[in-house]
Structures are given as structure tokens and as C-alpha cells.
Symmetry: D2
Subunit: 295 residues, 4 copies
Amino acid sequence: MTSTARTRRDARLLVACEDRPGIVAAASGFLAARGANLLGASQHTTDPEGGTFFMRMAFRLPDGPDAPDEGALRAAFEAEVARPFGMQARLVVDPHPQRTAILASKADHALLELLWRWRNGELDADVRVVISNHDALRDVVAAFGVPFVHLPIDGGDKAAQEARLQERLAADDVELVVLARYMQILSPAFVARWPHRIVNIHHSFLPAFVGAAPYRQAYERGVKLIGATAHYVTEDLDQGPIIAQDVARVSHRESVRDLVRIGKEVERTVLARAVDAHLADAILVHGNKTVVFDA
Amino acid sequence: MTSTARTRRDARLLVACEDRPGIVAAASGFLAARGANLLGASQHTTDPEGGTFFMRMAFRLPDGPDAPDEGALRAAFEAEVARPFGMQARLVVDPHPQRTAILASKADHALLELLWRWRNGELDADVRVVISNHDALRDVVAAFGVPFVHLPIDGGDKAAQEARLQERLAADDVELVVLARYMQILSPAFVARWPHRIVNIHHSFLPAFVGAAPYRQAYERGVKLIGATAHYVTEDLDQGPIIAQDVARVSHRESVRDLVRIGKEVERTVLARAVDAHLADAILVHGNKTVVFDA
Amino acid sequence: MTSTARTRRDARLLVACEDRPGIVAAASGFLAARGANLLGASQHTTDPEGGTFFMRMAFRLPDGPDAPDEGALRAAFEAEVARPFGMQARLVVDPHPQRTAILASKADHALLELLWRWRNGELDADVRVVISNHDALRDVVAAFGVPFVHLPIDGGDKAAQEARLQERLAADDVELVVLARYMQILSPAFVARWPHRIVNIHHSFLPAFVGAAPYRQAYERGVKLIGATAHYVTEDLDQGPIIAQDVARVSHRESVRDLVRIGKEVERTVLARAVDAHLADAILVHGNKTVVFDA
Amino acid sequence: MTSTARTRRDARLLVACEDRPGIVAAASGFLAARGANLLGASQHTTDPEGGTFFMRMAFRLPDGPDAPDEGALRAAFEAEVARPFGMQARLVVDPHPQRTAILASKADHALLELLWRWRNGELDADVRVVISNHDALRDVVAAFGVPFVHLPIDGGDKAAQEARLQERLAADDVELVVLARYMQILSPAFVARWPHRIVNIHHSFLPAFVGAAPYRQAYERGVKLIGATAHYVTEDLDQGPIIAQDVARVSHRESVRDLVRIGKEVERTVLARAVDAHLADAILVHGNKTVVFDA
């Protein structure tokens, strides 16, 4: 073994447990004992006296012939720290880009933003496939060298299409599904298979303007800001845990069509940020809310 | 009277009518014929073919012994322009600071913002009185030299209190009522007396979180932005025409108490901007929406 | 030809002159006499008593066999309105998408934003060519069906490359040149040929951090916001009239590399807005400043 | 003493040292061993391999007859953690509101914002005195029950006035000096006495528009955003470590006077945030830059 062989492996630890003294000490002590070098850490507690405690630690582990593998490390952490504190813990060594499917319909803006960032190395994903119920974006996707799959809803049979969708996701061993303005409501059964693994962009500042045609609703109400909301998809339409939101200023001058155009800018940025946070293991879900750490 | 007496009088014209060619030409021609110097003008049409047209013109009129008074000018405008175009028009010469009452409860932030801007000459109002259902802000208001009136709701008799409120507003010949976190719901009869003359600040980004405790609602929903909305009060609670809105970024770290604190900043700025626009005759109401011109 | 054939032509009028009473009346009277239907109008004066007055009017003209052509209309406006008021006026009937060249180097973000908006019908341009001193973006541009021209700086001979650039712009009869992170300084002679027709994006909030490596400068100074500035190119580097600016929040956590990534979002949005305003004839330059009207 | 008497004491730990493995483990282990309950923690490293590491921990210590006092705790931390890691550490138990002097001139906006927040319990300061070189704000300050001291610059003798200023600050045992638009340049000798203890608000987005009349500079340059910067005062005018910045959107419509008015909103918010962060021991200075943790 040469002296240059001492590289380091990136790793992340995510933790949720009932808050009580000693959690950070136990986790950081465990890591320090293995020579880990902390890159960043964030903690959050809903209440220091009996609330829920959340933590994300990013660190580098020494590498070399004697370095423990991920499985051994996880087992040790489970025994020494997680079990005594009653933690739900996730320890990821050498995180791989998550296998991701992007679902779109006809609009290209949110999809393109993700593909651009991905091509520029700004989204740590392994984009396996883009799936759409329309064929309109085939060429757009092809330019990025990503497979495009057209899954039309034949004869209105949404269940059949969803089954094929599920098959394709399984075939690609997908870990994350991103709805980049997919415009189809997924069935509860489908959603239940992907808990906190489907990220959607809703084109309003939720909980304002749930449901269809939010820009028209916003226009009718005469709001002075329009927004977009990225959230995890749950059974309840537009009610899942919110990951990211942003707004843009509008006025009486803008038509519905203008709101749609302005809203696109907000939608794509908000969705990209949410997906980025998910890919960096920076999100913990707590009830119907998220803790989004700086990654 | 000396020859240097040729000063100029500020004036404003507000117009709403069915859109058709020639409106601007007619109005600006009328003013040009009287030597008016345009300071600023804004137009808006909901549709150039048969929609509604809105316009605000700010200008200066020549003064002197032969200058027409406001009444004569209005009559001439009515005959020459407004009637032929079927306009609703408002012509104000030498606009005076509107007689204003501010209603508050216990919280001081929105009230103080208004009083501070007013004292600094940034709000063109004649603040006649501050009225509260509590006595908590007496000293705060006294420091600004503004009369403070305590109108408690004795024995839960809201109607009686509202009657005294109305009396006081009448006694001061009030033109504008500002609800600076007044926290009381005004009766439909009261509201009907003040059409588009009551400005309220609601502590959420409407239409999200109508009703009580919006910051708690926002906390429970886990939104990533909180907001405030200034609107005209109508019979329908939190449903009146929106004048101004803004938001502030929050995260999982903030408690309800933090949201309240952060929200105050947004509330007071948004209310002050809305009141400023109203005082400058820069707002036209169209259905349940506003046209807010740059003043 | 049937009576329903009465279509309308879009047109725009831009005016700058010494401020005095009657300008709006004269211009709107001229248009009303020709049956024009005002779509929007904006005015600005640096001082109503002797300052400079700026105006943009967008309108629709009646069409048909008797409708005057653009030349006749311009001549009439010149004689009846522009000359009497000493105006610099520009009257455009049936505005065509301006022939545009985009210059880039290796970075694709600003270029892609423009091409994407253009493909979506959000930029009213006729993008004739993308020109780069590097060959890196050839495929990216090809996907949009726009000609890509590689003009390398051979042997450091910038003058020769600039001559070929000018030839190509002339061959395409280009009206607008957009520097989408072109990274080359254009010669004063070149710039002089394109007064207020070259739009650049500078990756800082000017006048902070002029010159090279502004993100590194921003990092070193420890600013809490980074920005981008779109401006017309003049002889003086980074000193031309500013068209649009925006910022993004950063903190001690961000490295220079992070600032570059975050800054891209701001750069592309700001550049796109500036180009959009230019294409809509919504910008008037006054000294070293711009008047940017709502289009 | 009953068993219910077990209250807890708030405490904060701030640390800066060369980065290496084990720092968080050592510090959190020290605290856990004393039963501390972590409220929040933030870390930052300029480079995990040999950079500088910064940390802030907020926690609660058990109280009771056997609880160590602040001195004993500091000595133990110094011996067990700080010295082995070569840390600069600050440990504060039962943090008191810092004794604060606010210096102002004639403008009241930044001063009032601080006093309002302080009266509302939003600034954890002990505001001992407001000092001004003018007498204009005496009544404003009196309304808050805070002593006002008028220290005019008699006959232009700034040194004499500064000596009296220093005397007064010493008499009040002041810990923090806030320049709320004080408009006087403090001497290097004075500044040297208050390292990272003088917070100033500069009315521009530094480093743009250093020096005098920044709003006029901004107007002349035609920027589309104006800003404000709160920073620690150092010998070099407008060059100290930046704590907080924000901006507001402006356009060609605004006069210098408008910029001043709009800028006030930004100035007072930015200054208040910076002072709040300082009072919460949330700022660490590193070279000429700050690390500002979420408090």
C-alpha cells in the first residue's frame, strides 16, 4: 500500500428520534472514533424537552484496506447509537446518484430545467428515463441522450397506463420519481408504493389554489403574487409535505397567459431546488411537514 | 396680488369606462387645452376590444385669477369627455390629505408603522384619531400627538360599540378607515357605509389561511413562505379586493411565535404600501379586483 | 373581400422630447384621428418643468384598403407632432421579430435560456445565428435548429476574429447582438457600430465587482447577496446603461463554485428580461441610464 | 429545596479552530457529560482538510445546588476541549442582554426600528443610552424611556466629542455600539477599542457606492436595485466585515428622494437583523468576513 492510497469516502447520516441529551455527542463520538471528518451538520428539534430531534451529518471517512464497509458501519451504528436512542437512522456511504424517472406531459419548462442542471453536473441524479403520456417532448429529451418513453392513456384506461408506468419504473430500478408538470393524478395504490419518493411541482402557492387551473384561480382572485410549490405526493391531492416554495410579483396588468409564463420561471426553479435537496438526502419528513437541511 | 402669483395646482383624474378608441386623446386634449402639465399617467385595459379601460392622470394646472375652480373644471370635463365616453370619472384639484382613522387592538406594529411614516411626511393623510377596543396603546399614540379613543366592547355588546365607532368617525368627518390589526369583525351594515374606504391587513398570503390564527395554520401546513395581504373590507370576511401582498421566507426552524414575529415585518410594510396607494388615489376597484397604478 | 376583413395592425410609438404641456394630447390625438386603439401607454418625465419626457404607446391600427402604410404614417406624425414638439420619435407598424445574433463562449446557461424562451414563443426575436469563439456549444445549438458559427481567435488575433464577426452579422442583417457570457471584450470601433444594440450580461450586481472574476471578488468581500446586471455595451467596460438587475441570497456556507452555480440562475433570468424588453421596444436610453417601460 | 426546583440555564458555546476530526464529538461529549440539552447547533468549515472550523451551540444546562458555575465550566472546557484542539472558545451561561448604546444623528428610522423591537422583546439588548450629535431625536427617544445624550461637535472639535462619547460608553459599561445612521466617521483609535463591537448600517449595497451620498450615486448610475449593508466598523471606512444585506427594486421612475425613502425600509430591517444576530452571539468574524449562524 502506498502512501497516496489514503483516499476518503463521502458519507451521510440522517437521524430522527425523541429529543434528549447526548444525541449529538453519541453520533459524533461514533464518527470521530472512526476518523470521520465532518463536512457539515444540521440539527433541528421541535422541542428540546421531549420533542422530536432531527439531524443530518455529512462527513468523510478514511479509506484503505482496513476501512469498514457500509454494512459493517451501519450495524455498528445501529448497535452503539441508534438502538440506545431509539433512532430512525439512515447511513449512506459513497452515495450514488439516485436512479430517477421524470414524468412530464406536454409542457417542457420544468423538465428542461432538470435536464439542463443534470447535464451541467448540478443535480446528483442518474436520470434513467423520461416518461410522458404525450409524445410531444420526444425530441427535446433525445437531445439530452436520455431515453424517452411514451405511455399514452389509451381509451381513457388510466389503470392500464399506470401499470405500465410502474413496470417501467421497476425495470429501471428507479428510486425517485419527479413529476415535472405531469398533469395526471396518480392512484392511491401507486402513491403508496413510493412513500416520500415522488416529488411534484404544483403551480400555485399552496394551500392557495389547490386543484385545477391555479393561474386562472389566481387571476380571478386578483392576487399580487403568484407562486409554485414542490411537495411530496401523498394520497391527498396537493396536500403532501411541502419541500420548497417561491413567488413572483404580478399586477393587474398580467393576463392569465402572462401568469402562466411568469409562473414557469418559479415552477422550474422551485422544483429543481426540491429535487436537489431530495437527492442530497437533505430532507426529513415529520408528519405532514418537512425538515429541509442545508446540504 | 403680485405677478409672481402664477403658481400651479396639483390635480388628479381617475377614469373607468368601456374601452374604445379616443379615450386618452379626449382626456389629454381636455387637459392640454387648459394648460395642464402632465406629471404621470397610467392606463390599463382588460381588453382593447370592448373591455374596461382604466386611467389615472396626475398633472399640474396653471393658477391665477382666471383659473377655473374645481367645480367648473369638473362640470366641463363631465360635459365634454365623461358623458360622451360613458365614463365614471373623478377629478380632484388640490388634493387634501384624507381624513383618516386608524383602528387597532393591542398589537402596535402596524399602527406604529403608519404613524411613523405619517410623521415623516411619507403618508399623505390627516390622521384624525386612533381608536381601539383596548386601552393598551394609549401612550404609544399620545407620543405622536394623535387623539386616542378607547371604545371597549362592554358586556360583549359589539353593536353598541360599533355605533359609537360610527359616531366618532362621523364626528371627525373621516374619509378612510384603516384596520391596523383591529381583530374585530365589522358588521355588514357598517361595511356597507364605507365602500372601498376600509383597508385591512390580513396576516396571511390570501387566499391561503383565511379566518383566525393564520400563522398557526401556516405552521401546521409547513409552508416555506409566510405572507400578509392588504385588502378592502367587504361583507365577505377576508374576501375583499386585494391591494398589496408580500411574503417572507421561513423554514422548519421557526416556531409559531417566530412566524408571528417575522410576519409583523411583512404586515406593516404591506399595509403601509396599500394605505399610501389609496391616499394617492392610485387604486381603482373593478369587480373584486384592484388596479393599483404607480402613483 | 368581405366586411369582416377589417383586421388590425399592431404598432408602437416611442418618443423622447423636452417636457412641456400637450405632448400626450398631440400624440394620442394623432392616433385617435386614425382610429387607433390604445393597448397600453407609459410616460416618464425627469422633470415636468423643462425635463425630458419619454413615452411609449402600443396600439392597433385599423387595416383595410384605405389604411395608410407605415411610411405615410411616419411622415404625417413627423409633420404634425414630432417636429412641432422637437421630438425624437420612432413609429413601428407591424413590428417584426428583430434579427438577433447571440454570442457565447463555453458556458451554456444564458444561451439556453434565450433559446428555450425563443422556441416557446416568449422572445419575439428572429434568432439568426449563435456565434462562439469556442466550438463547445455546437450540438446544444443544433438541437434548436439555429445556425452555429465557430469563430476562433486564431493566434490571438482578436481584430481578425472581430472582422469576421462583423461580416457575419452584416450577412445576416442583424439588428440586435446579445452577449450571453461571451467573455471577450469588443473593440471600441465594433461597439460604436452597434449603439444600444448590444446587450450584455455581467455576472455581478454592478457597479460592484467590475472586471474579471466577479464571483471570486464577491466571495473575498463576503457579501450576503450576489447579483447579475444586463446592460447595453458601451466603450467603457461594465459601465453602459443598466437595463435589468437581480440578486440571490448567499451566506458564509457558499464556496466560489457555489456562487457561480447560484449566479447562473440570476444571470439567465436577468438577461432574458433585458432582451425581452429590448425586443418589445420598451427601452429608451437617456444619457447613461435607461427608461424601461412595462411592455 | 423541592424536587421541582430543577430548572435549566440557557448557555451558548462559540468555537473557532483549525479543522480536524473530532471537534464536534469533543465539544458535544463535554456538554453531554454535564447533562446539557442541545437547542441548536451550527457548524461551518472553510475546508475540511486544514481549513478553519466554526461552531455555535445553544443548549440548556441542568440547574441545582450541585450545578457548576460559569467560571468552573469555562475552566473545565478550556482544559478538556479548547486547549487540546487549539480553539478560540467563548462559553456564555445565562446570557444577559448586552449593554448597548445606539448612536444616531438626525434621521430616526433606523433608531426607531431598534427601539420598537427592543420594547417588543424582539431584541435581547439592554439599551442603556441613545447618543446623538444633534438634539433632534430627544423626544422620540424619551417616549421609549431610554436616556438621551446630546453630544454636539462644538467648534468642529471632533476629538473632544469622541472623548466624551468614550467616557459615556465607559460609564454605562457598554458592550455593543450600534451606529443607526450616525453619519460621523469614528477615529481609528476609537474603533480599535471596540473590535467587532460596533455595528454600522451603510445605505448602499456594499461594495457599490462607498462613501458619501450613496443614493445619489445609485441614482446617477441608474441601478435597478438599491440596498443597505450592516457591517462591523473597522479602520477602513465601509470596508468592515459584512453582517447582513438586502435590496429593494427601483426603476427610472424614482427620484433621489424616492430612493432615500425606499432605502429607509431596507436600512432599518438590515440593521435590526444584524444587531439581533450579534446579540444572540451568532456571528463569528474570520478575516474580513463573517460567519452568521441561525440563532
